[in-house]
C-alpha cells in the first residue's frame, strides 16, 4: 500500500521529466538527485522562456498556486461554465481568465466540452483527488507520530504513580 502511494506520487514528479522515466521505485531513488535537478531546471526553463513542449505537462500544484485559478476551480466545481461566464466573476480581463483556463487545462484539472457554439469548462474531480492523496501522506505521518506520543504519555503517567 505504501509502495503504491509512493509510486503515485513519483509518477506525478516523473511527468515533469523531459526524458521518459519509469516509475520503478528503486530506480527512482537511484536517479533521484539527477532527476530532481532536471525537474527543477525544466520548470525554470518553461517559466522563463515559456517553452511549450508536447512532453511537458504542468503539475496540479502549479494550478492551485494562484488565487485566481483557485477561484476558477471553486466556480466551475459547481457546474460547467463558459469562459465569458467565468470572466464575469472577476475584475480582470478576459485574456487573463483565458490564460488561467489554459494553464488549468494543461494541468488537466479542467476539461472542455463543446456545446453548440460555446465551450464549457468543468472540473476534473479525479485530478483534484490527486492533491488529496498527496496530502494524505502527511496525515499518516502525524497519525504515526501521535500514536507514538500516546505511548510516551502512558509511560509518563505510570512513572508518576
Amino acid at each position: 500500500m505504501i509502495y503504491s502511494s509512493l509510486t503515485n506520487m513519483f509518477s506525478t514528479l516523473c511527468r515533469y521529466s523531459a526524458t521518459p522515466c519509469d516509475f520503478n521505485l528503486p530506480t527512482f531513488f537511484l536517479l533521484k538527485k539527477n532527476l530532481r535537478n532536471q525537474i527543477v531546471a525544466h520548470i525554470f526553463a518553461a517559466n522563463r522562456f515559456r517553452i511549450k513542449s508536447n512532453n511537458m505537462r504542468r503539475d496540479i500544484f502549479q494550478a492551485i498556486a494562484d488565487p485566481t485559478r483557485r477561484a476558477i476551480i471553486t466556480l466551475i466545481a459547481l457546474h460547467a461554465m463558459t469562459p465569458n461566464a467565468i470572466a464575469d466573476n472577476f475584475n480582470t480581463t478576459r485574456q487573463s481568465v483565458s490564460k488561467h483556463l489554459r494553464i488549468l487545462t494543461e494541468c488537466e484539472l479542467v476539461k472542455q466540452e463543446q456545446k453548440g457554439r460555446e465551450i464549457y469548462y468543468s472540473l476534473e474531480i479525479e485530478k483534484m483527488k490527486e492533491i488529496d492523496k498527496w496530502l494524505n501522506q502527511f496525515r499518516k505521518i502525524w497519525e504515526t507520530r501521535f500514536n507514538q506520543l500516546d505511548n510516551v504519555l502512558s509511560t509518563m503517567k505510570k512513572q508518576k504513580k
Binding site: 500544484f61 483557485r70 501522506q137 502527511f138 505521518i141 507520530r145 506520543l149 500516546d150 509518563m156
Partner: protein, 165 residues
C-alpha cells in the same frame, strides 16, 4: 492503540496552512512537557523507522532547539526551531527551518502555533503550520518516504530470508 480521541487533519491550500487537532488521554502538564522538553519530543516526533536527536534545546522566547531526523541508514536531516512566543501550558509558537549540520538555516521555513487545553483529564492540542511553499512540504515528505523505503527493503530482505528456510 485504539481510542475515541479526536484527530483532525485539514489543509487550507489557499492559506498554505495545515491544521491539526488531537486529543490525548493525559493531563495538560504531561502533554505540555511532551511537546516542549527535548528528551520527550525525541521519543515520539520521528515517525518510525526515523529517529529524532536533539543536539541542544533552550526553551525560552528567542531560544532554539537544534535537532536531526535520522533515517534508518543513518542519514541526518538537521533543522532548527526558534521559539517566538511562549505562554506556559497554554500556547507556544516557533519558526522551523531545515539547516545544515553547522546550524545554517535554509529559508524559508514554516511557522508553527500550538495551543493546549484540558477538559476532564483529556488534553486537546491544536497545531497550525504555515508553509510559504508547497514545495517545502514536499521536501519534508521526501525525507520520510526515504525512511519508509528503507524499512520496506528491510522487510523484503527479511521475507526473502524467511522464504529460503
Amino acid at each position: 492503540m485504539t481510542n475515541n480521541l479526536l484527530f483532525d487533519f485539514t489543509v487550507d491550500k489557499a492559506a498554505k496552512t495545515v491544521f491539526i487537532t488531537r486529543e490525548f488521554d493525559a493531563d495538560l502538564s504531561l502533554v505540555w512537557d511532551a511537546f516542549t522538553k527535548a528528551e520527550l519530543i525525541d521519543q515520539w516526533i520521528a515517525p518510525k523507522p526515523m529517529t529524532s536527536k536533539t543536539k541542544y534545546q533552550d526553551f525560552k522566547v528567542g531560544g532554539k532547539r537544534f535537532y536531526a531526523m535520522i533515517s534508518p541508514e543513518g542519514q541526518e536531516r538537521w533543522a532548527i526551531q526558534e521559539y517566538t512566543s511562549i505562554t506556559p501550558k497554554t500556547n507556544f509558537k516557533m519558526y522551523n527551518a531545515f539547516a545544515d549540520k553547522d546550524e545554517n538555516p535554509e529559508l524559508p521555513g514554516s511557522e508553527w502555533d500550538h495551543t493546549f487545553s484540558e477538559q476532564n483529564g483529556i488534553t486537546k492540542v491544536s497545531i497550525t503550520i504555515y508553509n510559504e511553499s508547497l514545495e517545502r512540504l514536499e521536501r519534508i515528505l521526501d525525507g520520510f518516504t526515504q525512511g519508509m523505503k528503507m524499512s520496506l527493503s528491510n522487510l523484503e530482505n527479511l521475507l526473502a530470508t524467511l522464504s529460503k528456510k
